[in-house]
C-alpha cells in the first residue's frame, strides 16, 4: 500500500516525533520548515507500508547525525540528505526503491521525507528504534545482527566519506562518529542499505503513522482544552513519573554527544522530591531522590506541563514547568539481546533494567 503524505500531516508528525524523541533526536522544527518549503515548491512525499515492500527491494536508511545543539546552528538542508542517498547508490550501483528513517524520534523522523521529496522516492512507514537513540548499534537492525556497512556521510562543505566496511556495529559507530565530529558534529548520513525483507523482519513498523496520530491527539487535546499530557499518556498507554519545575541543567558536549543532567524540583503531588534526568542526547535514566525510577529502553519524555509539547535535552531550561512521563518501548528493545544494546548498562549505568510497565 502506498499513499500520498498530505501537507497537513507534517505538523502532527513533527509533534509526535518530538515526543517520541525522548529529549533527543533534535527538534523537528528545522526539518519541518524545510519539508513545508519543499511542499510549497510543489514537491510531494509518498508513504509506503513496509509490508508492501518486496523482499528484494533496496531501502535507504537516512539520518542526520550529530549533536542536536550543533544542528540548531548548522540547520538542516534536504540537499545534503539527498546527496548521502545518491552517494550510496553510486557506491553500491543499486537504485533505492524507498527511503526510511533510522529513528522516528526527533528531527530524523522527517529526514527520509526531505530526501524522499528531493529524490522523488517513497518513505517507508517504519524506523529502526521506535524512539531516538544516539548510536548506530542502538537500532533494531543492530539487535538483529544485520550487516552494518557501508555507510555514506556528507557535510555542507563538499566533504563526502564512505565507510566501506566495519567489524561490528560499534566499530561502525566509532568510525562514523569520528568523521562526524571532524566535520563539526553534524552531517547527513545514509546507513547500511536494507532489503525489504530485513525491514519487514527487523524494522519497528508503522511508526510514522503512530507518531502522526500521537501528534494529532496532542493537537486535539489543546484545541479542546483537555490536558495534552494526559492525551499523550492515553494514546501511548504511558504513566506520569513526576511533575515539577526545572532548577538546574548541567551540559557538556563531548565526543559529539550532549551529556548531562536536568534537575527538577517537585510541584503538586511531587513537592518535596527531586527528579534528576540524566541524558546522553536522549533522556536515559530518571532518578527520584537518588533512586532510579525509569530507564532506557522505556521512553522517558519531558513535556511542557501546560502545552504537552516535548522538551529536548538541548532546550530544557531553568524555570520550565514540566511533567516527566514514561511510555512503553518496542518489544525488540526489551529482549535480552535488545537490552545489551540499549539497556541502562549500554549507557554506563550499573542498573538492572526494570520497566516502568513490568507488572
Amino acid at each position: 500500500m502506498i499513499r500520498d503524505f498530505a501537507a497537513d500531516e507534517i505538523d502532527p508528525l513533527a509533534i509526535g516525533a518530538w515526543i517520541l524523541g525522548t529529549g533527543g533526536g533534535g527538534s523537528p522544527y528545522l526539518a519541518q520548515l524545510n519539508l513545508k518549503k519543499l511542499y510549497r515548491d510543489g514537491r510531494r512525499c509518498k508513504l509506503i507500508d513496509p509490508l508492501a515492500l518486496d523482499d528484494g527491494d533496496a531501502v535507504a536508511v537516512v539520518s542526520k547525525m550529530g549533536a542536536p545543539l550543533v544542528g540548531q546552528e548548522r540547520l538542516v538542508d534536504p540537499a545534503h540528505l539527498a546527496r548521502a542517498v545518491r552517494l550510496m547508490e553510486e557506491y553500491t550501483g543499486k537504485p533505492f526503491r524507498a527511503v526510511m528513517s533510522v529513528e522516528i524520534g526527533g528531527g530524523n523522523a522527517l529526514s527520509p521525507f526531505l530526501a524522499g521529496a528531493v529524490l522523488d522516492i517513497p518513505v517507508v512507514d517504519a524506523d529502526a528504534m521506535g524512539r531516538a537513540y544516539p548510536e548506530a548499534q542502538m537500532t533494531s537492525f543492530a539487535i538483529g545482527d544485520l550487516q552494518m556497512y557501508p555507510l555514506t556521510l556528507v557535510d555542507c562543505r563538499d566533504n563526502e566519506a564512505i565507510v566501506a566496511r566495519a567489524a561490528s556495529w560499534k566499530w561502525m559507530e566509532r568510525i562514523s562518529r569520528k568523521i562526524c565530529t571532524e566535520v563539526g558534529s553534524t552531517s547527513a548520513t545514509c546507513k547500511a542499505p536494507r532489503t525489504g525483507k530485513e525491514v519487514k523482519e527487523w524494522g519497528v513498523l508503522h511508526t510514522v503513522t503512530k507518531a502522526t496520530s500521537l501528534g494529532r491527539a496532542v493537537l486535539g487535546a489543546r484545541a479542546a482544552h483537555a490536558d495534552p499530557v494526559a492525551a499523550v499518556l492515553d494514546h501511548e498507554g504511558g504513566v506520569e513519573l513526576f511533575r515539577g519545575k526545572v532548577v538546574d541543567v548541567d551540559r557538556t558536549t563531548t565526543g559529539g554527544f550532549l551529556r548531562g543532567a536536568a534537575k527538577i524540583e517537585g510541584l503538586d503531588g511531587d513537592r518535596g522530591s527531586t527528579l534528576e534526568l540524566s541524558f546522553q542526547n536522549e533522556w536515559a535514566v530518571a532518578f527520584r531522590d537518588g533512586a532510579p525510577i525509569a530507564m532506557t529502553p522505556d521512553l522517558i519524555c519531558l513535556l511542557d506541563t501546560v502545552s504537552g509539547e516535548a522538551i529536548g535535552t538541548e532546550t530544557v531550561r531553568y524555570g520550565q514547568r514540566v511533567t516527566a512521563v514514561a511510555l512503553p518501548a518496542p518489544a525488540v528493545l526489551q529482549t535480552p539481546k535488545g537490552l545489551e544494546h540499549v539497556g541502562p548498562r549500554a549507557f554506563g549505568y550499573d542498573i538492572e533494567f526494570k520497566s516502568v510497565f513490568a507488572s
Partner: protein, 518 residues
C-alpha cells in the same frame, strides 16, 4: 523613595507618582504625535498637584509599547540589511524564512548569505568571505539602508566573524546602526537571527524614542536617573535600553500584570490589558506573569526570549473599524484617537466610538455617534466579545472559569460577563496599571562571561555572587534578590574547563531613603 512610573502606549500616556508603596497621584492623558509632549504633560500633571517643598523625585521608570506595536502593526519598521555568515550551511533556510509574509514584506530585508562562521569547537567552518561582506555592505548602502543585522554561525561562542563583518560594514556605511546576533541571543541560529533582524528593524525607532523621553524629562525639570522597563519586569538605564528595543518588547504587559496583581491583591488570575492599539492576555501565577516555555513568538516571529506568556490581540480603544470591508482592526488610529475618532470630531470609526454609542463609556461627544445603526453596533460588540472569549479561552489551562482582571485604558471593551470567566474584575487605578507596574519595577544584576580554572558549581556560584553585587549596586534590597536565570555553555576548545556563564538576578528597589539608585 519617590518615583514616577510612566507608561507610554500608542494611545494614552499614563503616569503615577509613588512614594514607597503609596500611590500619591495618577493621571491618564492622550499620547501625542511627538511622544515627548504627552510625557511632559503627564509629568507636569502629577507634579503640579504635589505640595510645595515636597522631596524631589528619585527615579523615573518608563515603559513603552512602541516597539512591540510597530511589529504587531507592521508599521514604523525600518528596512534592514540582513547578513548571515554561515554558508555553505543552512542554504535551504534563508533569513526570515519562518516570518509571517506580511511582516517580512514590511521589513523588506535585503538578505545576503555569505561564507564563514565557526564550528562549536572554535574552528572556522570555512574562511570568512570578506569580499562578499563588503559587496553586501555596498549593496545595502546603495539601497539607502542604514540598519544592518549580522548573524554568524556559532557567534555566541566565537564572536570574531560578526565583529569583523561589522567593521567591514562600518567602513562602507559609517553611519550604519548594526545589531550583532551574539549580543542578543544564544545558540539557535534562526531564532537568534530573527531577534537580531527585529532589533535592527526597530533601532531607529529606539533611538528616536529615548531621545524624545530624555528631552521630555529635561523640559519637565526632572533630573533623576531614567530607566526603561524590560520584558522581565526589571529596568535598565534608558540609554542602554535604546540599542536593544527587543528587550523592551513585552515590558508593557509585564508592567500591567504586575500592576494588576498589586491593585487587586490577587496572585492567581488572568489579566487582559486593553491598550489603544492592542490587548494582551496573560496569567498571573504567584503575583508574577507566567513565563512562556521555550520559544516565544513576537508578531508571529519565533525567538528564544524569556518573556511572559502573552497572547496579543489586535484590539484596542483605537482599533479601526471598516464597515465596508466588515473588518475590526488590525490597524489603530493610536494616539490620533483624540482627533480621528468620531466622538472626538474625526472621521474614523473606532472601537471606542462603538462603545460610546452603546453607552459602555462616556468619552468625547456621544452625539457624533448617534447616527450609527443600533443593530450594527450590537453586532460589532458581539464580535469583539467573541474575539475576547476566544483569546481568553486559548490562554486557559483548565476548563474551569478564571478570574479575569481587566486593566488598561480600553478596558471598557471587555464585557461584564464573559464565557469562560468566573468573574470580570475592575479596580481603581486599573487604567494606569502599567504605569504602576513600571514604578514598581525591579532592578537586575547580570553576568555574562567566561569562567575557567574552576568547576561548574564554583563558576555558577561566582557568577551569582557578582550578579547579586551588581543588583545591589543598582539599588536592590539584598533580601529580595532572587535568581531569574542561571545557565552555562561549556566551551570545549578552551582549556581549563572553560564555560560561558549567564546569570540574571532581580530584586526590589530598596525603599530606604539613604540608598541611591545607580
Amino acid at each position: 523613595m519617590k518615583r514616577i512610573g510612566i507608561d507610554v502606549g500608542g494611545t494614552n500616556t499614563d503616569a503615577v507618582l509613588i512614594d514607597g508603596e503609596t500611590v500619591l497621584d495618577a493621571v491618564k492623558l492622550p499620547t501625542t504625535s511627538d511622544v515627548m509632549q504627552g510625557v511632559v504633560n503627564a509629568i507636569g500633571s502629577v507634579m503640579a498637584r504635589q505640595p510645595g517643598g515636597a522631596s524631589p523625585v528619585d527615579a523615573v521608570m518608563i515603559g513603552t509599547t512602541h516597539f512591540t506595536n510597530a511589529v504587531v502593526e507592521r508599521a514604523r519598521l525600518e528596512r534592514v540589511g540582513a547578513i548571515r555568515i554561515a554558508m555553505p550551511a543552512g542554504a535551504s533556510l534563508p533569513p526570515m524564512v519562518d516570518w509571517p509574509d506580511d511582516l517580512r514584506e514590511a521589513v523588506d530585508p535585503m538578505s545576503f548569505m555569505v561564507e564563514g562562521g565557526h564550528e562549536y569547537d572554535g574552528r572556522p567552518l570555512v574562511p570568512l568571505d570578506r569580499e562578499a561582506v563588503r559587496e553586501a555592505a555596498m549593496r545595502i548602502r546603495d539601497a539607502g539602508i542604514r540598519s544592518v543585522g549580522i548573524t554568524a554561525l556559532f557567534s555566541p561562542l566565537t564572536t570574531e566573524c560578526e565583529t569583523e563583518a561589522a567593521d567591514i560594514v562600518r567602513s562602507v556605511i559609517p553611519q550604519a546602526r548594526i545589531t550583532l546576533s551574539h549580543t542578543l541571543g544564544r545558540i539557535g541560529l534562526l531564532e537568534r537571527e530573527n531577534v537580531t533582524l527585529l532589533n535592527a528593524a526597530l533601532q531607529g525607532l529606539g533611538e528616536g524614542t529615548v531621545d524624545a523621553f530624555a528631552e521630555a524629562l529635561r523640559e519637565s525639570g526632572i533630573h533623576a536617573p531614567f530607566y526603561l522597563t524590560q520584558n522581565d519586569g526589571t529596568v535598565v538605564l534608558a540609554r542602554v535600553a535604546a540599542a536593544n528595543p527587543v528587550y523592551s518588547f513585552a515590558s508593557g504587559p509585564t508592567n500591567s500584570m504586575r500592576g494588576a496583581a498589586f491593585l487587586t491583591g490577587l496572585k492567581e488570575a488572568m489579566v487582559v490589558d486593553v491598550g489603544g492599539t492592542t490587548s494582551d492576555i496573560g496569567c498571573l501565577v504567584g503575583g508574577f506573569p507566567r513565563e512562556a516555555n521555550n520559544v516565544v513568538e513576537v508578531g508571529g516571529v519565533r525567538t528564544l526570549f524569556r518573556m511572559p506568556d502573552l497572547l496579543p490581540m489586535a484590539l484596542g480603544g483605537g482599533t479601526i473599524i471598516d464597515l465596508d470591508k466588515g473588518t475590526i482592526g488590525p490597524r489603530s488610529v493610536g494616539y490620533r484617537i483624540t482627533s480621528e475618532a468620531l466622538v472626538f470630531g474625526g472621521s474614523t470609526l473606532t472601537t471606542t466610538d462603538v462603545a460610546v454609542a452603546a453607552g459602555l463609556v462616556e468619552i468625547g461627544d456621544r452625539d457624533r455617534v448617534r447616527h450609527l445603526d443600533r443593530g450594527v453596533v450590537r453586532d460589532l460588540l458581539k464580535r469583539i466579545e467573541v474575539m475576547v472569549e476566544d483569546n481568553v479561552d486559548r490562554m486557559k489551562t483548565s476548563a474551569e472559569g478564571v478570574r479575569l482582571i481587566a486593566v488598561g485604558g480600553g478596558s471598557f471593551l471587555i464585557p461584564e460577563r464573559l464565557k469562560g470567566a468566573s468573574e470580570v474584575l475592575r479596580v481603581e487605578h486599573a487604567g494606569v496599571a502599567n504605569a504602576l507596574g513600571a514604578a514598581m519595577a525591579q532592578v537586575s544584576g547580570e553576568v555574562d562571561q567566561v569562567f575557567s580554572g574552576m568547576g561548574r558549581d564554583a563558576a555558577l556560584a561566582e557568577a551569582v555572587k557578582i550578579a547579586r553585587e551588581r543588583a545591589m549596586e543598582a539599588g536592590a534590597r539584598p533580601s529580595s534578590i532572587v535568581t531569574l536565570e542561571a545557565e552555562d555553555i561549556p566551551i570545549a576548545y578552551l582549556p581549563g574547563d572553560a564555560r560561558r556563564v549567564r546569570v540574571r538576578v532581580v530584586g526590589d528597589i530598596s525603599f530606604s531613603r539613604t540608598s541611591k539608585a545607580a
